[in-house]
Symmetry: D3
Subunit: 341 residues, 6 copies
């Protein structure tokens, strides 16, 4: 028997990816699912290869003492409240992005989790991708020197061909181009640049294509960031484009640059007029089944077993990223730069 039992909140597209990934780790299995829709326990257990109890009331699932962790895979607007409820029930938390929709909600969530003393894993799983593990290693080996400019962008047309389009177009569910999807790019930018953000400015626009007309909010935006250490960053997010999925990264430092899977470092004596290339699996799909959940959850369960916060995607890092997103969206709405605390 593996160490941790996990209960899932919500049973949709993302939940399927979470269950598969959790069951694929060496340390945990899914034993419960809460869903407002009726589900067949036998079929569910067979499909996922672990014995799963189905609950139609969240309170009932949270009352089960054998459940150690809950994973929140519901609609975005439900994440925060359910996370606080589960924390109060003493469950450790896996929370799909976004955590919440405002700075105020974020503070409440942090307080509740801190008070409950539970550990958290927020699904900024791109930090555990082959691409960003390697990118981070290149930075940490000093091959780029000290970074003074960086951009990470997210281009991915989310139209009717995409399951989440059905609800994602609503302002209260999607939020903004950054919040609904671009958050992965902004989060990766903060991972790479390292320091604290002093100020952001953001401009937003929207495609004139009929395909994307249902969106209630601007679906393309560009945000620039001033870091406290003097560095500058930028994050574009577009969910209304017609093109291949592109998670664009360009980092400029005192010893070299990195562009996606290419780099140049003065430390390796290579030809400055051509890029060297790193073998890595690129983030080239928005499909959650391609995302590195298993690696991330493995790290979370190891940290839980050791009684520590997990590396890279604990609440602290994720909260920092959300604060920057909220500031950026406020800037786009108000038309003014927004300073961070």
């Amino acid at each position: 028997m593996k160490k941790f039992n996990v209960g899932i909140i919500g049973y949709g597209w993302v939940a399927s990816a979470h269950i598969a990934a959790i069951n694929a780790t060496a340390h945990a299995q899914v034993t419960a699912v809460f869903s407002s829709r009726p589900l067949d326990e036998t079929e569910l257990s067979a499909r996922h290869g672990s014995t799963i109890t189905v609950y139609d009331r969240l309170e009932a699932m949270l009352a089960n003492p054998s459940i150690d962790v809950v994973s929140i895979c519901s609609y975005p607007q439900q994440h925060a409240a359910q996370a606080m409820q589960a924390a109060r029930a003493g469950k450790h938390l896996i929370i799909e992005k976004p955590l919440c929709f405002s700075q105020k909600e974020l503070r409440a969530l942090e307080t509740a989790i801190k008070k409950a003393g539970v550990k958290t894993c927020v699904c900024f799983e791109c930090r555990y991708s082959s691409q960003f593990l390697a990118t981070k290693a290149v930075i940490d080996q000093g091959l780029l020197g000290s970074l003074h400019y960086g951009e990470v962008d997210y281009y991915h047309g989310i139209g009717p061909w995409y399951g989440q389009f059905r609800w994602n177009t609503r302002k209260d569910a999607g939020g903004s181009a950054l919040l609904t999807a671009g958050c992965h790019a902004l989060d990766a930018l903060l991972l790479c640049m390292g320091g604290d953000v002093a100020e952001v400015t953001s401009y937003a626009s929207k495609s004139r294509s009929k395909t994307f007309a249902p969106y209630e909010y601007p679906t393309s935006s560009v945000t620039i960031l001033k870091f406290k250490n003097g560095a500058v960053g930028k994050c574009a997010a577009s969910v209304d484009c017609f093109q291949p999925y592109y998670f664009h990264t360009h980092l400029v430092g005192s010893e070299g640059s990195l562009l996606d899977n290419k780099f140049h470092s003065m430390k390796l004596g290579t030809d400055r007029h051509q890029w060297s290339a790193l073998a890595m699996k690129m983030l080239d799909s928005g499909d959650v089944s391609d995302h590195p959940y298993t690696t991330q959850f493995e790290a979370f369960f190891k940290a839980l077993a050791a009684g520590r916060e997990m590396p890279l995607t604990s609440l602290a890092e994720a909260a920092r990223t959300h604060e920057v997103i909220f500031a950026a969206d406020r800037s786009a709405e108000t038309g003014k730069p927004v300073r961070l605390g």
Copy 2:
């Protein structure tokens, strides 16, 4: 005998490129050079293959009625005054970028040229490059639909290995990352996006490498632009990077996207998950001898012969680009968005 005689102001690296390009056109030849350094007429004529008179006083050259056009290749801080002086002498103008260093200078220059009734060619020659002629044709054929987001960036490390580094590091000669080199990218962005700019915000930083320490101004910057038609744009400029020269273009529209020499258009029924590729010579060098001066000058001389302003790089377009640069640099200095008239 070709139609137009051209006098060159200043005799350095850029002048050599201009002379070769002018002599390579079908309509003009260089017949005079003004330089404060002593030059040997015979050797100069032999090197460039046309009979060249050398002047050590600008007034003298401008007084020669056989000269139809002057090309201003002096230090940047001399461009504006010399251009006004030549215009007053009735000469048509080829002016290397930048035109000048402030909005006020720009207005004075526009007034002087208008009063003199001469025609102007400003060296934003990238508009005549294979890359941007093709990019513009793709936009004009409607393959991208209506653009709502675009970015064009300039990455080119200008260090001690580069001739212009000697004077370019000074604030009064280089000006800013945008003004000294990134202007080509900003100009190309305006070409592609088409509409008028309503507002810009810019953040700037500087490499911590010793190599770039001599620069008196921030050598990397990122500028975001709000267009009057609702579209949004972005231009990064870095002259303090260690990497291959990169003129990055990414345009997002209602029918497709273009990324450098790659594109996708819903109108061609191609696979949205892969880029199609356009055969074009990329801008991949900061070396003026690689720049499409000949094509640009040919267009200028044809327009002169027809008594018209030239297409793409006349004073009007160039002035618009300079205004945006001045606004961006002011934003970076003041820390506030700057609106355009």
Copy 3:
């Protein structure tokens, strides 16, 4: 329940592909199969995921009023008679290529179908491939101008390693290199060139390899076509080659050329000395499971629902292609050019 019920005639390699494709559409399901071989209804239904009744008499199946459409997947020499029988029974028709083996049979078939008032889908499914949808879009966007020369060819060694080799080698089943397989290339050529054919000449030959000795007819041929509008075309078909499958396309027009997935257009200002490239899935396999049947059938069922003939592959287009093939084969046999009506 989806709208249309389909009965299949014949149960071999092609039938499996048809059933999978029909069941994958949103509008129809296979509910019946007629086969002279005994089949197990339960196993068949399980394999294909729809409830299928098996008939050992075609009349019986055609008498079932719940069947809206029949799909003819029998041996080539049976297609025409079965199609007429099914039409008379009031069934709409999906007919595998070839329709028949002579101009006379073709006229009879057309008459029968017209009289019955049923709609028809002929399996020239390559018109619905990614490759030819994109190729056609490029032509329709005017990027090639007006075509004056075009060639589409079919190279695919059909030897003992291939299921259909067993019967395909017979003159009365295979017919000719064009009829048995090259018809897809000829049909694609007519799609691209657009106009009516005035005359064809064809030469044929045969490999000296023992592998292909069983064929009773020439297995390589080349046909040239004169169009009424003055354009010229060419189609080579070889089923006796040892090489990768190759569906070669080369179109030459007044604004550019297209070669397979490459093209040049004067309208895009790209470099004439290099090909631009279109992202498309190439036709690179003779395996029917790789063919775009689902797209084609979806279009057919949508047209049926709207009471219209389907686009691209209705009887009218297919009849035109067969007429040209019959003329080409007659030319190869008689050694003379053959004019079309």
Copy 4:
């Protein structure tokens, strides 16, 4: 001193290429030029690096007994008469293609040369290209087995940007798409297929682009060939296309196929579903300065020294190719197949 002295007839674009190539061989030098335009002997000698006497009368040059060989680089319509005149003067012959414009002229030329007992090199120099030397070696090593179908095509837009366009558009100078340029492809096809031609049929057309309107004859054609051994061939020639230069080769035999620089051979046990690739310099330019004249002339001079006809491009091979071209052009004009003797 090298062995053979060569006199050049005509001094244009092609002559420059011939002189450079002849002087680059180990066995001959150019010592005379006949031109109707006045030329400066000193400048000519300096430019080409050999002492050259200029003649303004052909008779005078032919009367010079020190000249061993003449190379005929005049306008196409002059080739035959000048060749006969030179042969009668006892000079060995290098003749640019085409030899002449009719079967009758060809017979007269053959008779005159035979009677004079001189040796001939006809400029079908593509036979000496890296591409066709390797292609021929692959055939000769038996890697393709016995060929039963082959096509070699010529696509090269010859428009106003091309020197020869000035006169090439005239019927009496260019002749036909095949004669003016496509002859290289037809000649290469005959080289590869090996046997004698029994019959040809040809269809011709013309671009609707204004660029190519000056041509007085059809500028695209496709010709199919029946060989006496049962094999079939095809040659397309287009000088009115907008695309990269393309010398397309596709050979199909009993042991494998060759497509340009790719091949598959059953004898090498490689994967039949992928092409193997041959390292060779492709014919990818119509520019005579890229053509393998030196290799061809070296072979001619070696044969001369040995008193033999040269391999690959002697009069016999070239006459055969011309006969096929004349037959093809007659077929295109008459609309009927044409048999060869």
Copy 5:
């Protein structure tokens, strides 16, 4: 019913690959498995699709007269004894590499098999890979001429991520870098070079990485070989590297060279300064499920049916390879060259 019944000795990773491959041939099926671990007959039969009897005593399986062939898939140190026991029982033999661990054991094995009159297939299946079938064909067609130098190497990090690492690190099971895995490369080298080996010298070393510390023997070695015909060869074997799997081949002969899937041959007239490329599936994985067992076993069963020894991997070839390995390992241990008989 297929002709030959096969019993498997040992049921691990390799056995699974053997069973699948044997059942995939047209001539044999697996009907028995001997394993010291208890196995479920029903489940085993279902998994492999043939009716399998499970034995827990080897003698019992060997006593079953319906079994024609045994395949030895046990631990390496058991191979020789079990092979002799099975041979004595009159069974034909499939033996996984290595055959044994010493020259003395090898002689005993050869004697026992010869005495029993059974046929043998030794699993040097790389000889049946696409890569070496093509490489051998290139040599046999004479395209490389006579070989005077050749190297075939094996680079494949076998660490804890690899199933066999568990026991392979032991000296008595793995033996040496050559014996445990590099044997495939040495065997391929002997296949290519053809002649008999006169002498070998070998040097060995070991990675300083902790990952590979458990190995009880040197895990990298390089061996050079003197052939009786004067040619020289070399084989490096490394199982302690961190890099992509690489089966490196470089052959140098009197007409050309082959490097992996690239080659140059003077006989094909291709460009000597670039490699031509052969389409072949490369050996790029140590995973037995990627190895060409089916092709090898098919050849074995065909030879059995014909009463002949199989080509390429019979006992004679494999014994020769083992002798060279034993000599190389003795050389590495003694520090002296070792001559072969």
Copy 6:
């Protein structure tokens, strides 16, 4: 005026490359040439762009006190004696490889140079190539960890098409495959592996092609090396192959491997199953005009100015490489391993 005057000994192919490279440095110019052939001073000075005095007696040149350095570009068998003579005359030395032909000569040379107190640059210039500067940087950054196996090889057919073939085929001029050319590869191997060599074994052979028959010594060899630190190396050298020039490098260490311009490092978190790629100019030509002489000489002159031995290619490193070569050649001749001191 630049600091150092250089006199050249011998005026052939290599001398031309030396003179160009020396004159291209910032610190020295060639002012004298000694040659046994009569040379024209004026023409020589013009060709090389520096004023050059020609000497026909070496003593005379060495007696000129204005000459600081001599560069020895004579036949290999003259190098050692001339170097000692020049050293005695107090000249600093540039010496083309090889230094000498025996260990005894080497000792004498070292003694003479030490006694004279002059500095030395030996032309193992590949150490200054882009390829090995980058390779060394990768090792020095620790990306490969500690190396335990390495091979660097030299494949370059030196036949009649190559200038040095004329004398290089002689035993007393070429020496061995290693000495005449492979020395660059062996030297690079020692550079990469770092430690001292304990023992070598070498086997040699020769092509059966007529092209290479003139060679008086074995023209292919393979040498294996045991290092004192336990690592193992290998160097193959072939000057009798028909293939592209190939300087093959494969290094295996405790953190990764490098293969030519590809590498994998566990420290960068990249995908172990694919190679990352380094942008570097590869050594892909034996032509001395492609060799990095200028970089090497620049380093020598800087060291001279500072009164230090130069890095990478001073006498000490070169002597070590020669000792290993002499040992390897002795091993190939005696058939026994040879230990180094």
